[in-house]
């Protein structure tokens, strides 16, 4: 693979001059500048910024009965055009974000294992050309067992992929048929074995539970089989019936049974217990890892890091430093592949929607996503987004959060705010109350409620109580006024 050394984007120097300093520390999980050798030339801004990068391959060969993702079945994919567009868009977004180091890359879909290794390599080269892609950075590819033979996987490895996520879903042929998968259980086993051979310790499998008609026993047996097959990472999903899918139509039409909520909860608990007994850490609501094999890319989402989404329908969360932006934006790319490609070709980018996230909205995401992990929301990360209103000030006060702590579902201590083992299974029910409390506290007039931070006295009365925190903590250092409007597209 081509050089991964950091190279400044062509436009960086020109735009860089217009931007004031004051960026916070890079917080790349495991691969940030603190643990990596510092990239050589650092233009303005002085501090590096990091982001995870997601690349969406929108095509599938066959529609799965349960899937409502953004995917398209086309007779002939114009791969060269798609490749060129992915490359171009990756460059555009890296330039706009002025990200200096990409902490991880994830190829999702669709079925990205249907793309040729050449496309994967081209995108990775573009990334490495526009920003620093550290040598050890996690590069994951989602693979479908029907397109994951050893030669193909070896091609991906050569292209720069170093982690594989195999969509096993089930090891029961009848269930796989019901799910509309185009592979058998035997093919899934073959694919996992091939992947483990090439990516030892870096292979993940996806499993689905709650398939219509699936019994507790069948799930327990399936899980046991999966444990015998898997590497050090397992993602566990409850089958969600999505509107517009064939499976949902069958279930709602009464042709298939609906698993009861209690059964689903039982299945989840069974799986948690079995995986933990097998040495896995339940590090996120639906993810398990052992021997430190957590997915750094996905952790970036839950830890509210910046991420850039490239490809049809891909989402992103980042600050547009390239435009002098200071606030984090939620961005979505055009959904339909042909339209997306046309836009990239004609306008140089395929971003369809940009919304500036308010400081409160960012905190809501930090909370809702952070609590999905076993580490929860640390004081440090919270302080990064909310320098003046601590976790204690919001969730330590009497209120619902306190009651949840007394119930034994939530913990607020020196580490931060997190769910207990029992609480993690109830998270969706806890979050509305916590969000409510956050919103309520946020709306209160400025009072020196937490003198520990000593924030109140020093502030001018006219200044906003909380500085808008983009990705840079303590944004008060820069009196920059330019805020990107939420409506226009660059």
């Amino acid at each position: 693979m081509a050089g991964r050394g950091w190279r400044p984007a062509a436009a960086a120097a020109a735009i860089g001059a217009a931007r004031p300093g004051g960026a916070g520390p890079g917080r790349g999980p495991g691969s940030g500048p603190a643990s990596e050798p510092a990239p050589a030339p650092v233009p303005e801004p002085a501090a590096p910024a990091t982001a995870a990068l997601y690349v969406h391959w929108p095509y599938c060969r066959k529609r799965c009965s349960y899937c409502n993702f953004n995917k398209y079945m086309v007779p002939a994919v114009d791969e060269a055009a798609m490749r060129a567009c992915l490359v171009r868009e990756a460059r555009t977004l890296l330039r706009l974000s002025q990200v200096q180091s990409v902490t991880s890359v994830f190829f999702g879909g669709g079925t990205p294992s249907l793309a040729s290794p050449r496309t994967i390599a081209a995108v990775l080269e573009a990334v490495a050309g526009a920003a620093h892609l550290p040598d050890g950075a996690e590069v994951t590819l989602e693979a479908n067992p029907s397109s994951a033979g050893t030669p193909r996987l070896a091609g991906f490895k050569a292209a720069g992929v170093n982690r594989l996520s195999v969509g096993v879903q089930s090891l029961d042929d009848a269930e796989l048929r019901l799910l509309g998968r185009e592979h058998t259980a035997a093919e899934a086993r073959g694919a996992v074995e091939a992947a483990r051979g090439l990516f030892p310790g870096r292979t993940s499998i996806d499993l689905l539970f709650g398939v219509p008609g699936q019994s507790r026993g069948a799930w327990a047996r399936g899980l046991e089989a999966a444990l015998g097959l898997c590497d050090h990472h397992v993602s566990l999903y409850q089958l969600t019936l999505e509107r517009g899918t064939a499976l949902a139509a069958q279930v709602w039409g009464g042709a298939l049974p609906t698993p009861s909520q209690d059964l689903l909860a039982d299945m989840y608990q069974t799986a948690r217990a079995a995986l933990v007994a097998a040495g896995f850490r339940h590090y996120e609501v639906s993810n398990f890892a052992r021997k430190g094999a957590r997915s750094t890319h996905n952790l970036s989402y839950w830890q509210a890091e910046q991420y850039i989404g490239v490809g049809p329908g891909a989402h992103g969360r980042f600050v547009l430093r390239g435009e002098g932006g200071r606030s984090r934006e939620a961005r979505v790319q055009t959904l339909e592949p042909d339209a997306w490609m046309r836009e990239v070709q004609s306008r140089g980018h395929g971003t369809r929607r940009r919304v500036v996230l308010s400081p409160l909205e960012q905190l809501e995401e930090v909370l809702a996503l952070g609590l999905r992990t076993d580490e929860g929301v640390t004081h440090e990360r919270w302080g990064h987004f909310s320098p003046h209103l601590s976790l204690e000030a919001i969730f330590g006060a009497p209120g619902e959060a306190k009651a949840l702590q007394q119930q034994g579902w939530l913990v607020l201590d020196g580490g931060g705010l997190r769910c207990t083992w029992e609480g993690l299974a109830l998270l969706d029910s806890l979050l509305p109350a916590l969000l409510c409390q956050l919103q309520h506290r946020w709306a209160l007039p400025a009072v020196p409620a937490h003198p520990a931070q000593g924030a109140a006295p020093g502030r001018g009365s006219g200044a906003p109580r909380r500085s808008p925190t983009g990705d840079r903590a303590g944004g008060e250092a820069a009196g920059h006024a330019g805020v990107v409007s939420g409506s226009s597209v660059e």
Partner: protein
């Protein structure tokens, strides 16, 4: 409840309220003038009609059913005019809606009937139009009226299309195996789109497009065609004058001078003054004083024959004697009684007290008179430390309650205190002592003050209804959120055309009795419509909320609320980059819902429970 206003509303307000004792057949707010007066007085003045000239084959018994404000009463007015039943004047607005409250609100509460005489292709026909109420609360009355019919006109607004009540009414008629003639009304309106409505009717009801009649009842366009369709499509009743008398009581009214006037449909035989008839239900015997037809006022006839619809006066003193659904037969000639109608079941209860206890007796007599005409209201004596002696009344629904209170005020000049409405909960008792006390294991609780404690109950049950919502698709998201907030379970969802969706939800009744309809209307800018039907009881986690004053519970302020299962197990959904926006949206919506709850102890109390308790109207 929010109901569409009408011109009649403004018009009616100009008239003074009706004094208490005025007989219902002579309302002073009806149009005055020589013609109208002649019509109104006709029941005494004219010669008795001979109904034998209308054999069964020439009779058509039909109803008009429609969603509220789709023009049912206007079409009835036109039909009455065309057939010469009433004079054609500009004042004919909702002629069959006799109650002041009906005219004010533009709704029909009490079903009325009218016999129309019509010539078609050289033959004379007797068309009996049985008007029906047009609101969710009164579907019971609709079913009453329908069982005397062989067909219906299903009126749909050409602009609004099929609405929730259109669906409910269609199924009532369909299940009763009646001939259904779709009538698309208001084609004169600027935004009328009859083609779209015809397609909806075809898709939803499986009625061919060419069977729809497009009309403008307001302008009279094509109304004649409706009458022709009635004759062609609706079968005559299947019965025989030679058979023994079999008469169905499908409604009754009370006249202060003449006693009970029972509306009857003859399913066999004939009836005339002097006949001795027996009620199959009460076994009581009566002598017939008068029979006749309604035009729409009582018009005496010599006789009524099989297949005909009319009224009977036979010395019945109370409306309860003319039980809806009862069968009358000739003394000593018993017949197999007709299957009874669905009986009215109160769905909403509220306490009613006189503002001033010295008014107790006046209120009592007003209640007695009003319930004489509205047997669907149940009355239980009740008393309260704070409010004194009063009653606990059961109504078919909230509108019914409002209408009743309004009538109490308008027709009897009564001011009352009405407590917060509740629904009838049930409790399955586990305490032997209580079972002995109540003499049964399952009790119905209509007063929160009598709510038995959890310790002596093995299970609480709450009433549920199957709600039908028809809405333009752009409001689906908000409506689904509203329904979920109201603990409803989705049962069905169907697009009736590209723009409109029909949703079916199972609701706990208490979630919709207070303000659901208003909330639905406001979040859909008035475009969504709602109807519901009884769906039995389901187990519920209920708790009595007491309000303490100086540490003592005030019984009148107690309400029963649902103890939410606040913490449910998760759906273990993935949440990666692309899922975050959607996830946050959902969570924030749930957080919004949470803001409307007050947590007390371990119970989440809907915030409006307090408002509901505190918002008592005095002197409404």
């Amino acid at each position: 409840m929010a109901l569409a206003g009408r011109t009649a509303m403004r018009w009616a307000r100009l008239r003074s309220p009706c004094p208490a004792a005025t007989p219902l057949c002579l309302p002073p707010w009806l149009p005055t003038g020589p013609r109208a007066c002649q019509r109104l007085c006709s029941s005494r003045g004219k010669e008795k009609l001979d109904m034998s000239t209308y054999p069964v084959e020439s009779i058509r018994n039909f109803s008009i059913i429609a969603h509220v404000d789709h023009g049912k009463s206007t079409l009835a007015d036109r039909l009455l005019e065309i057939t010469g039943t009433i004079a054609k004047t500009h004042h004919n607005k909702q002629v069959l809606d006799k109650l002041q409250v009906e005219r004010e609100r533009g709704i029909t509460v009490k079903a009325q009937s009218a016999s129309l005489f019509y010539s078609h292709e050289g033959a004379n026909y007797l068309l009996n139009l049985i008007d029906t109420p047009g609101h969710v609360d009164f579907s019971y009355e609709v079913s009453r009226s329908l069982s005397a019919c062989q067909g219906v006109l299903l009126v749909v607004d050409a602009n609004e299309g099929i609405q929730a009540q259109t669906v409910a009414n269609f199924y009532l008629a369909f299940e009763a195996q009646l001939a259904i003639i779709p009538v698309i009304n208001k084609i004169d309106l600027k935004n009328a789109d009859p083609e779209r409505v015809e397609k909806q009717i075809e898709k939803l009801f499986d009625i061919p497009i060419d069977e729809c009649v497009r009309i403008s009842a307001k302008q009279g366009t094509n109304v004649e065609k409706v009458l022709q369709k009635v004759i062609e499509k609706i079968p005559p009743p299947q019965c025989n004058t030679a058979d023994p008398l079999k008469a169905l009581v499908f409604d009754s009214t009370f006249d202060h001078y003449r006693g009970v006037i029972a509306n009857i449909a003859l399913f066999g035989g004939e009836i005339q003054k002097g006949h001795k008839v027996v009620s199959a239900h009460t076994k009581k015997r009566y002598e017939v004083n008068e029979v006749g037809i309604l035009t729409p006022n009582e018009q005496p006839t010599h006789k009524l024959y099989a297949g005909q619809v009319g009224y009977l006066i036979a010395g019945m003193k109370e409306v309860t004697e003319a039980q809806i659904g009862d069968t009358l037969f000739l003394y000593k000639q018993p017949v197999e009684p007709l299957p009874g109608f669905k009986s009215a079941k109160p769905m909403v209860f509220a306490g009613m007290y006189p503002v001033d206890q010295t008014e107790y007796n006046n209120l009592k007599s007003a209640l007695e008179r009003l319930t004489l005409n509205d047997s669907s209201v149940t009355v239980h004596r009740d008393s309260s430390l704070a409010l004194g002696a009063g009653w606990r009344l059961g109504f078919l629904g909230l509108l019914h309650m409002e209408v009743f209170n309004q009538r109490l005020e308008q027709e009897y000049n009564m001011s009352v205190i009405v407590t917060a409405p509740t629904v009838p909960y049930k409790a399955v008792l586990s305490s032997a002592k209580l079972i002995k006390e109540y003499r049964k294991a399952e009790i119905t609780i209509i007063n929160p003050a009598q709510f038995p404690d959890k310790l002596s109950v093995s299970e609480y049950l709450e009433p549920t209804v199957l709600g039908t919502i028809v809405t333009p698709q752009e409001y689906i998201g908000k409506i689904i959120a509203l329904c979920q907030d109201r603990r409803a379970v989705q049962k069905d969802m169907l697009y009736i055309d590209e723009r409109r969706v029909i949703l079916k939800y199972l609701f706990p009744l208490n979630e919709i009795v207070v303000d659901f309809y208003d909330a639905l209307k406001s979040l859909s800018s008035g475009y969504a419509s709602f109807d519901y039907e009884d769906a039995g009881y389901q187990a519920a986690d209920l708790i009595k909320m007491d309000i303490l004053l100086n540490g003592n519970p005030v019984e009148e302020l107690a309400t029963i609320i649902h103890k939410l299962k606040a913490y449910r197990k998760n759906v273990v959904a993935k949440c990666y980059g692309g899922d975050i926006t959607r996830r946050m949206k959902l969570l924030k919506r749930q957080a919004e819902g949470k803001k409307l709850m007050r947590k007390i102890g371990n119970v989440e109390v809907p915030r409006d429970a307090f408002i509901r308790v505190l918002k008592r109207q005095t002197d409404k």
